[in-house]
Symmetry: C2
Subunit: 326 residues, 2 copies
Amino acid sequence: MIRVGIVGYGNLGKGVESAVINSDDMELVGVFSRRNPGDVVVQSDVKVYSIDDAFIMKDQIDVMVMCGGSANDLVEQTPMFAKHFNVIDSFDTHARIPEHFANVDAASQVEKTVSIISVGWDPGLFSVQRLYGQAVLPNGKDYTFWGKGVSQGHSDAIRRIEGVLDARQYTIPVEAALASVRNNEDPALSTRQKHTRECFVVIEEGADAKKIEETIVQMPNYFADYDTTVHFISMEELQTNHAGIPHGGVVFRSGKTGMNLETHQLIEYKLELDSNPEFTASVLVAYARAAYRLHQNGDFGCKTVFDIAPGLLHEADGATLRKQLL
Amino acid sequence: MIRVGIVGYGNLGKGVESAVINSDDMELVGVFSRRNPGDVVVQSDVKVYSIDDAFIMKDQIDVMVMCGGSANDLVEQTPMFAKHFNVIDSFDTHARIPEHFANVDAASQVEKTVSIISVGWDPGLFSVQRLYGQAVLPNGKDYTFWGKGVSQGHSDAIRRIEGVLDARQYTIPVEAALASVRNNEDPALSTRQKHTRECFVVIEEGADAKKIEETIVQMPNYFADYDTTVHFISMEELQTNHAGIPHGGVVFRSGKTGMNLETHQLIEYKLELDSNPEFTASVLVAYARAAYRLHQNGDFGCKTVFDIAPGLLHEADGATLRKQLL
C-alpha cells in the first residue's frame, strides 16, 4: 500500500481524500492543515494533524499531495516539503513554472526525494496532449479551448467589486470556433473568437446594477477582450443552480503529413468534468503512484508530467498492461 | 541528426519516408527492401538497398523503422534487426503481443539495443489514452470506437470472394452509441450496436451479385455480427471515390469520482485521419526519436508506448517544453 498524506484541505484536498480512499493500492495516513485540526471536518475517518506535525511523521508517509493554492501556498510549501517527502503539486502559474521547478528540484536533492509539479489537467493532461500532438504531427497547429466551466479567478474578480455579494463566472468556448477547427479550416482565432464569458452575480440591495455590469465587462485582462454577459440573480438561485464546479475543454492538434504536407490529420482531446477539483485530485493521485515508484527505483529530483512514462500511473504491472490495454 | 533506416517499403514505409524528411532533427539513410532495389520507386532521393545489406551498414543507422506487416514480416524481422539496431515496429496482432515482446526483448539484450514495439495509433496512441483514462479514473468504463475508415483486413476478406475484382470496406461507428456515451449513460453496447460496415465492391462481368452480397454479410467474424451494407460499383468509381485510406476513431473513459462515486467525469480522445498509414508512420517516427535518446542514455531492451515518457518524443528539450507546453 502506498501511504499518502494531504497538505491543505480545501476542495482539492477533499478530492484527493476521496480519490485515495477509492484507490485499491493506497492508504490515506493523514490530512495536514494550518487550521486547528479540531476545526477541520473531513469526509472520511482520516486523522487531521497540524501542518507542523508533518515532518515528525515523515517515515509514515510515502507521498505528500500538496493541495494549497499556487499563488501563496505551493510556491513556499512544495519546496519545504520536497526536502523530506516525495511530493505532488498542481502549481498552475504558467509564467513561474521554470522558477518553481528549479526551487523544488533543489529541495529534492536534500534527501533524494521525487517531486512532480504542475499536475492536473491544465497544466497536466492538456499539456501532455499538446506534447503528443506536436511530437506526432510536427507540422501543424495547436488549439486549446476551456469550458464550459467555472473560472475561480474570474469569479473572484467579480466578487471584489463593491456591491457584489457573490458571483459565478463561466468560460464558454465559441461553437463556431470549435466547428472551424474540426472542419480543418486551421483558423487564426482572436481571444474574442475563442471564448465567451457568462457571469451570474448577486448584489447588495440598492447597489447600482448598471454600474457593476459596466465594471465587469470593461475589466482589463479578465473581461474586456471577451463578449461578456452578466445576469443578476438572487443568492438562492446562485446556491441552487450554480453550486457545482464543472469545467473541461478541448485540445486540438491539426496537422499535415505526406511528402508535400498535403494530408490532413486531426487529434482532439476533450474533457467534460462535473467537478474540476475532484478530477484534478484524481490526476494528482495517479501521479502520486508514479512518484512512489520512481522513488522506489532510486530516482529523485523534480519532474513534470512530461517526464513520467504512462505505465507508472496505472496500478497494474507492465505485463498486465501490455496484455490488456495495448 | 538522428540517422533513420526503413525496412519494407509499402504504404507505411512511404509514410515514414515523408515523416523523417519533414522532421528537422532526422536524416533518412536508406530504404531496405526484399525487392530488387532498382525496382523500388521512392518519393525522395533516398537510396534503396537490399535488405541483406542492412547489417553491414549498422554503424550508419541510429534507428531502424520496421515497416512490414505483422502477420508475416514483423514477427521474424523485428527480433532479427533488434539484435543489432534500435528498432520501432507497429506490431498489431493483439493476442501475440506478449510473445512478440519476449522475443524482441531477448534479441535486444545481444548488443544492448532499444526496441519499441506495437507503436501506431491502435495499438499505440489509443492504448496510451486507455491507460491514462484508467489511471486517472480507476472507477469507470472504457469505450473504443473505430472509424469512419477503411479496414484493410475486411477489404481483403471481400477480395478473396470468387467474382470480386476489388473492394473497399468502411468501418463506421454508430452515432447513437457515441451519443449515449457522451450523454453519460454508461451503455452496455453489443458488437452490432457499436459499428456498422459499408462495402464498395467491384465484380466481374456476369458474376452473381446477389450471391456475393450474401457471402459478404454472412461471413463469420468479419461481417455476420454487424449491420453490413453492400454497394456494387464500377472500377472507375472505386478508383475515383475510394482511393484514400482514411481512418480514425474515439477512445472514451467515462468515470466517477467523489466519496460515493457520484460525480461524472468524461474523457474523449478522437482521431480523424485522412491517411491511416501516414499517421501511423508519424507516430513511429516520434517513437524512433525516443528510442535513440534512450539508447544514448544507456537504456536497452524491449519497450512499448507505456514505457516512454512523453517528453522523449518531442524534439525540444525539457526546459523548453516546460516553458512552452506545460
